[in-house]
């Protein structure tokens, strides 16, 4: 199997696993949220139609927010969903990292470098987002 094909299969597996893990967490959190039938769940349609109405309760804006809500007793089910969404958002980044490693191990320095530069730019964009 050639280096690009090996890299393709490896990235495909990472994307698939990322997708499966994300969906499991997202669905698990959503089911728990529905089962607990919190009062705010009944207001959800109104909340997504009016951003200011729901932001403080339901929306997470940092990984710290998600972590705090997960370690609470009982854990916030929407934090489980949010964790799934975070997993989904970082899956393509992991795909690029895995591609870089796969090309490097196959001795394809050009594409290992290209994957490294793309990964660096993605990390820069995350740093800029975190810095506001």
């Amino acid at each position: 199997m050639s280096a690009p094909v090996r890299a393709e299969r490896l990235i495909g597996r990472v994307l698939l696993l990322g997708g499966v893990l994300s969906v499991s967490l997202v669905l698990g959190g959503l089911v728990l949220y529905a089962v607990q039938s919190r009062p705010e769940a009944r207001e959800i349609v109104r909340v997504v139609r009016n951003r200011e109405a729901g932001r403080a309760v339901d929306v997470f804006t940092s990984l710290g927010d998600v972590r705090r809500a997960l370690t609470r007793h009982p854990p916030d089910p929407l934090a489980v969903t949010a964790l799934g969404l975070v997993c989904l958002l970082i899956t393509p980044v992991l795909g690029v990292a895995v591609a870089g490693v796969a090309f490097w191990r196959a001795g394809d320095r050009d594409y290992a470098a290209i994957a490294g530069v793309v990964l660096g730019m993605l990390l820069l964009s995350f740093a800029l987002a975190a810095g506001g």
Binding site: E8, S22, V26, S125
Partner: protein, 282 residues
């Protein structure tokens, strides 16, 4: 509408958006944002947050299958991602400095021209490429895939790489400036400039849109635009739809996909020209 009915309707819409996105190489934002805001009455910021989740879910769901069958070309995807991601970063930095309406108008006119040229090539199944691009040779921008519709292996090699790369940079720049996904532009650059088979263009675009969108996903998350209850059915629905779309795409002819892509291109051209002229659209 009850919360359960709302989530169910959202899930069904997302399945359709994911299926269309997987076949056409789009993230689904072009379909999803107007539907969420107009039909579901969702706040625009939340709709945009759900859209970025949809783009990445489509990319993960579709690209996983396309990479397994070699329809997505990882070398071409990474090579062009250099242009789109750097363009997106520059675009985000230039937001507020560059006259966006002029850019939208120019882009709309370019898209209108592309719509006409795509119309002329509507029945072309596989592009005939006689040119040999030194950049394509140097970076190995070529591949082979098994075409189920044609029942044979198809070999291809990119041409006019510099033009394709420049178009991708422009697509990334606009992505960063306007906050839009750029799946349609990516497909266009690969199909129109680099003369790749339409299936390879849409499948490789599916791989790339996840990477480009990841660059802005952090911004949407930190702004609080990603509402879990809204984004969850969208993510799951889009993933299911994208998985189904990849099975459908394998059986379609390249010319059929191009025909399905044409109305999207025409709509984008009209939308960009109207926005450039200051006529707002959802």
């Amino acid at each position: 509408m009850s919360p359960l009915a709302f989530v169910a309707a959202l899930f069904a819409t997302s399945v359709a958006a994911g299926g269309a996105g997987a076949v056409l190489g789009l993230g689904g934002g072009i379909l999803l944002i107007p539907i969420l805001t107009l039909f579901f009455g969702v706040d625009l910021h939340y709709a945009m947050g759900a859209s970025i989740v949809s783009v990445i879910a489509t990319s993960s769901g579709a690209a996983a299958a396309y990479l397994r069958t070699s329809l997505s070309n990882v070398r071409i995807g990474l090579f062009l991602a250099l242009a789109t991601v750097s363009g997106a970063l520059l675009g985000a930095g230039l937001a507020g400095v560059v006259p966006i309406r002029v850019l939208q108008l120019l882009l709309g006119l370019a898209l209108a021209y592309s719509t006409v040229t795509t119309l002329r090539q509507l029945r072309v199944e596989l592009p005939e490429t006689t040119e040999t691009d030194p950049l394509a040779l140097r970076f190995g921008l070529e591949g082979t895939y098994y075409d189920a519709a044609l029942d044979r292996d198809v070999k291809y090699r990119a041409t006019r790489v510099a033009q394709g790369f420049s178009a991708m940079f422009g697509a990334g720049l606009l992505s960063g400036l306007l906050g839009i996904g750029s799946g349609a532009f990516k497909v266009l650059a690969m199909d129109h400039f680099m003369r790749l088979p339409m299936k390879v263009s849409t499948a490789t675009s599916n791989f790339m849109i996840g990477i480009t969108s990841a660059a802005s996903a952090g911004i949407y998350f930190s702004r609080g635009d990603i509402h879990p209850v809204l984004a969850a059915p969208v993510a799951v629905g889009v993933l299911v739809g994208a998985a189904a779309g990849t099975r459908l795409m394998a059986r379609l002819h390249n010319a059929t996909i191009r025909k399905a892509f044409l109305p999207v291109l025409a709509w984008l051209a009209i939308s960009m020209i109207l926005r450039g002229l200051g006529i707002g659209l959802p």
